[in-house]
């Protein structure tokens, strides 16, 4: 995955807030995962519009922290391996 990639959630998969679970969940054919806060915050920004760099910048400013790039890229790799993401060609 290059920094210019604009990741988006794969069609057929849905990210959704569930009040009863007090968490974001990812819904896919016959399955569901409950996301922790950082996973949810990253995935919410995978809208096919933002590049990885922009997602990093966005999160760093939202959480007032620096040096998140490594962590975010690592998670995006995992998410891709799980089949949650499809990369939009930029």
């Amino acid at each position: 995955m290059s920094q210019a990639d604009r990741p988006s959630i794969r069609p057929g998969i849905r990210l959704q807030w569930e009040a009863v679970q007090n968490a974001y969940v990812l819904l896919y054919p016959e399955g569901m995962v409950k996301l922790n806060t950082s996973a949810a915050e990253i995935l919410r920004r995978c809208d096919g519009m933002r590049s990885v760099d922009e997602i990093v910048a966005d999160l760093e400013s939202a959480f007032n922290r620096n040096g998140l790039q490594g962590e975010i890229e690592h998670f995006l790799q995992l998410a891709r391996a799980q089949g949650w993401l499809s990369a939009a060609e930029s």
Partner: protein
């Protein structure tokens, strides 16, 4: 759920809701999971009643929704139900044999927001598919697969595996690949209901199973990243039971066509339990307070060897229906477990499966006449 040992773990939400919209089905699968006496159930819930169930369950936290049957498409309100489900925020799965699907219905289902379709096959050739389902449906299913793809749905193919088709696994997987499946579920038959009746015909031999596993693993390697293959070995060949429905009353609520609410779709067979009906009680009341949903929650109901077993949190003592079918006691350990005093029932079924003779009893197809005469 926390890992701490308590006698009554907190009751979580029914995250999965399975609506068996009807027991009507044009197919007659020999491994059908519907109750043997399905023909007795005629009084199906109305559209409005299903929609009320959807609302009540959603308020409790249900989010994964299965629409199944029978063949759900036998009802002409699947579109209306899926529509409401989408509005409520469910992720909706339609579980179908494809019979009753048309291009028009599929367009409408897509429009109202159905999320995914699981299409079932019985085998990879027309002859075997049509024999096992006792209908001419193979070509139709292939057409459905094309339409599903065309609509941009993820392609989820399911094939129930057993002694009569397990040797065709290679061509079954090949078929799924050629259909462009994203997910392939090779579900080894679970021996309840019709499959239990036909078990002598359906339980594969150890050699068949080992060959199948080898074939499956080779395909899995080859299709890495392109198609996910799920393969569950029949629990008769295991030493420990499966964690049935993730634990009784913890995750799943099933509603039968007549509104009977159950912690799993086969629970109806269990004696001494009266299952609540959504026509009489709210989903909240059913989920938290009904006797049936509380009966096998937690550990209090367990007998030995489960009660003092250190593995009880792993499998909850296995499946209550299997305990009843094989040990004649719904509160016993699932006899698949090698610690169960009834384990030899499973061992001897497995031993018989290694023989090559054809069973004497005929193969019983799931049709209304047989439903009446076997129940």
């Amino acid at each position: 759920m926390s890992a701490a040992v308590t006698t009554s773990p907190a009751i979580g939400p029914p995250l999965w809701l399975l609506l068996e919209l009807t027991y009507r089905c044009p197919l007659q699968c020999v491994f059908c999971y519907n109750p043997i006496d399905f023909a007795k159930v005629e009084d199906e819930l109305t559209t409005e009643e299903w929609i009320r169930v959807l609302r009540e369950a959603r308020a409790l936290g249900s989010v994964q929704l299965g629409l199944s049957g029978g063949e759900p498409l036998m009802r002409d309100d699947v579109e209306a139900i899926a529509d409401e489900a989408h509005r409520l925020g469910y992720y909706t799965n339609l579980i179908t044999s494809g019979v009753g699907l048309t291009r028009e219905r599929l367009s409408e289902l897509k429009r109202v927001g159905l999320d995914h379709i699981q299409l079932s096959f019985q085998d990879s050739t027309r002859e075997m598919n049509d024999f096992l389902s006792h209908t001419r449906t193979f070509e139709l299913k292939k057409r459905c697969a094309e339409w599903i793809k065309e609509r941009g749905y993820p392609m989820v193919v399911n094939c129930v595996i057993h002694r009569l088709n397990i040797d065709h696994l290679d061509t079954i997987i090949d078929m799924a690949v050629r259909m462009g499946a994203d997910y392939l579920e090779l579900a080894n038959t679970q021996y309840y209901s019709w499959a239990h009746l036909n078990r002598e015909h359906l339980l594969p031999s150890r050699e068949q199973l080992q060959n199948a596993e080898r074939t499956m693993l080779a395909w899995r390697e080859r299709m890495k990243g392109k198609m996910k293959i799920f393969f569950v070995v029949p629990d008769y060949y295991e030493q420990r039971p499966k964690k049935c429905v993730n634990g009784w009353g913890t995750t799943l609520a099933t509603i039968a066509p007549d509104g009977t609410a159950m912690p799993c779709h086969t629970a109806r067979m269990l004696p001494g339990l009266s299952f609540p009906n959504v026509r009489e009680r709210s989903m909240r009341d059913i989920w938290f307070d009904s006797d049936a949903f509380n009966r096998f929650r937690g550990w209090g109901w367990m007998k030995e060897p489960c009660a003092s077993c250190e593995e009880r949190e792993k499998d909850f003592g296995g499946c209550r229906c299997q305990a009843y079918l094989l040990a004649h006691d719904a509160a016993a350990a699932d006899p698949v477990c090698s610690k169960s005093p009834h384990h030899r029932v499973v061992v001897s079924a497995v031993e018989r499966a290694q023989e090559t003779r054809v069973p004497e009893a005929p193969l019983v197809f799931r049709r209304p006449e047989n439903s009446r005469s076997y129940s």
